[in-house]
């Protein structure tokens, strides 16, 4: 078939038109696929893919038996998507009748609605009841609406129990105090990111983990919940009975330093930590610094016997209860003429103790005080553990050893005192108190304890402490079935430049004496009426000891079989 010139021209025009069209398409494709590849990939990803942040779940805290002390559970947080102020105001008016909000929060939300903010939190971490009451509050036809977001909420099932140990968390689950704060990095875990692929209905059909979420680790504490509960209850009773300012009790395993209970009064509910006074948050067991008074004579006796400056029968003149030398004036509660070294501790003679201190000498005494851990950091995993105040040797004057001998001119914390007293119970080792049993399933062990005094010295001091409870100032701590070793302490408080008639009463001891398992230390701050350690703290020691014996296999062999009455 022959085609004429005109037809050929038309074919060529059509051909080149198609060619231009194809080239144009190719050009556009190259532009889309090559030059703008990144831009359009990003665009399509935002349409069909969505990146979500994964909030890690905070680890659970258990006691030594596996009972829950703190746990995070999912809860709903409510917000208003404020598209129209009038509608949002109406919705908010309905909500506010059904959930509890502080006056400040209510005012704040109103302000934010009026200001036209698009996203407004109503209340985060609602209770189940609150959520149920406002779940279906949205009004059809309203462009503003109430929405809900899942958030983890920290629950402390035991309420006030162990509050100072646990501490608490803030609204975003960040540790604020206690073990929640000190081990925050371990418990909180690590957030992750996930790329979700969505279908046309915005439903997720595939997930790609960009960063894996790591849940927080679970902690097992050494705390024994029933003992902790009992100790806190009894401490509260005693503080109220003597109208005291506060107090603390520590119960410790003498062998490995595990803390079975650590109570501090006043307590608080960790769920309300944000509304708790700073002074109430203070863990008295760790950060209350006080003059230890006569309980410090245990450290004096150990230092003196270890240095061999005298033996337990060495006699000291106690000057009938009043001793003065230049500026040094010391009194005894009961006047004594002469007392042996042992009786100085048993009857708690300050004059006798001062003489032992001076006989020991500043240098030796200072070195033992440091060996017993005073003025040194504690390795306990809790914040705000005070290291106490021990003047450096160069700041000691000629009376320092005499004053420190009966527990003045030195500031200590209850946990330091239990660590020092436990040296006698453990046969001469400085065992660090520990609160952490394990992280997940990995057991936490303390460093090997250092021996600081000999077993013989411990045994002599222990015998003296038994007499303190049997016939001395600590009689009210005695148990009929079990030998207790202990020491009382009563110290005046130094306030505004002078000693006031305000006291700190304390008692520390351990049992069973033959093979100590439990060490307890009690401090009551400013008891009114009775104020001696032997009257205020010793009876509490007895109560707690009975309870501890009930839950632990404690007692001499003949008492263990077939049963023991408590």
């Amino acid at each position: 078939m022959k085609i004429n010139r005109g037809e050929r021209r038309r074919v060529i025009i059509v051909f080149f038109s198609f060619l231009a069209w194809v080239i144009l398409i190719l050009g556009v494709l190259v532009k889309l696929q090559v030059f703008n590849y990144g831009k359009y990939t990003q665009k399509i990803r935002t349409q069909s893919n969505r990146i979500f942040s994964l909030h890690p779940k905070r680890g659970t805290i258990y006691d030594r038996h596996g009972d829950i002390l703190a746990i995070s559970v999912l809860s709903k947080s409510a917000f208003i998507s404020n598209k129209e102020k009038g509608e949002s105001g109406k919705l908010y008016g309905k909500i506010v009748k059904k959930i509890s909000l502080s006056y400040k929060d209510r005012l704040d939300i109103r302000k934010r609605i009026s200001a036209g903010k698009h996203f407004i939190w109503i209340k985060r971490k609602l209770s189940e009841k609150e959520f149920a009451s406002i779940e279906k509050i949205n009004v059809e036809g309203f462009s503003s609406r109430v929405g809900f977001v899942d958030e983890y909420k920290r629950i402390y099932p035991q309420k006030k129990v162990a509050s100072h140990i646990l501490g608490g968390v803030g609204i975003d689950e960040q540790g604020l105090s206690g073990i929640e704060f000190s081990l925050d990095s371990v418990i909180k875990g690590k957030g992750g990111k996930v790329d979700a692929q969505l279908d046309a209905r915005s439903q997720i059909f595939s997930l790609e983990y960009l960063e894996s979420e790591i849940p927080g680790k679970n902690l097992h504490l050494t705390i024994d919940l029933p003992i902790q509960y009992f100790v806190e209850k009894k401490l509260e009773e005693v503080v109220k009975k003597y109208n005291a300012k506060g107090g603390s009790v520590i119960v410790m395993n003498s062998r490995d330093g595990s803390l079975l209970a650590m109570a501090s009064y006043p307590g608080y509910d960790p769920s309300n930590i944000r509304y708790t006074k700073q002074s109430t948050l203070r863990n008295n067991a760790l950060s209350f610094l006080y003059y230890p008074g006569s309980t410090f004579k245990v450290i004096l006796a150990s230092s003196a016997l270890e240095s061999k400056i005298c033996n337990v029968n060495y006699k000291f003149n106690c000057y009938n209860g009043e001793y003065s030398m230049n500026d040094l004036k010391i009194h005894d509660v009961h006047p004594y003429n002469t007392l042996s070294f042992k009786d100085i501790i048993v009857y708690s003679s300050n004059i006798g103790a001062a003489q032992i201190g001076m006989k020991l000498g500043d240098k030796k005494y200072y070195s033992y005080i440091k060996k017993f851990g005073f003025g040194n950091e504690l390795s306990i995993r809790l914040p705000a553990a005070e290291k106490g105040i021990v003047n450096p040797l160069k700041r000691w004057n000629m009376y320092s050893s005499a004053y420190i001998a009966h527990g003045y001119e030195i500031y200590v914390s209850p946990v330091q005192m239990i660590r020092a007293m436990n040296v006698i119970a453990s046969g001469g080792y400085l065992v660090e108190p520990k609160i952490l049993k394990s992280i997940d399933k990995v057991l936490f062990r303390n460093k090997r304890p250092k021996r600081i005094i000999s077993g013989n010295t411990c045994s002599s001091v222990s015998d003296i402490m038994v007499e303190v409870v049997d016939v001395g100032t600590g009689k009210k701590a005695a148990l009929s079935d079990l030998k207790i070793a202990g020491k009382t302490g009563t110290a005046k408080k130094y306030k505004m430049g002078k000693f006031r008639k305000l006291y700190v009463s304390s008692f520390g001891g351990f049992f069973p004496v033959d093979d100590p398992e439990i060490t307890i230390f009690i401090v009551i701050d400013e008891p009114k009426g009775l104020f001696y350690g032997g009257d205020v703290a010793a009876p509490l020691f007895k109560e707690i000891s009975k309870r501890v014996i009930m839950s632990q296999n404690i007692g001499s062999e003949d008492q263990k079989l077939p049963g023991v009455r408590i």
Binding site: I71, K159, L207
Partner: protein, 93 residues
């Protein structure tokens, strides 16, 4: 003529194979998507169950709160604290 007919058959066969492959591929792809949904649903379910377990554990712990138990035992059930010697602890082997 015969040659032409074989050529036609070959085209038909190729088209059939291609169609079958395409169909299988599409159905597999669709099934994969279904598996994706199912996997995600089960993952969500597992997470939900874990959360439910934790919630129930928390509720159990709240119910067993020692202060609450003590209040119920003493105030509602009328039990009293044991006297000295009323508790006998028997030690095992």
């Amino acid at each position: 003529m015969r040659k032409k007919s074989n050529y036609g058959k070959l085209i038909a066969l190729t088209a059939f194979v291609l169609f079958t492959l395409l169909f299988t591929y599409s159905s597999l792809n669709l099934r994969n998507t279904d598996y994706g949904y199912e996997k995600q649903r089960l993952k969500n379910k597992k997470k939900e169950l874990r959360e439910t377990i934790d919630l129930l554990s928390a509720k159990k712990a709240i119910l067993l709160e020692l202060g609450r138990v003590e209040r119920i035992v003493v105030q509602k059930l009328g039990y009293d604290y044991p006297e000295k010697g009323q508790i006998i602890k028997v030690y095992g082997e």
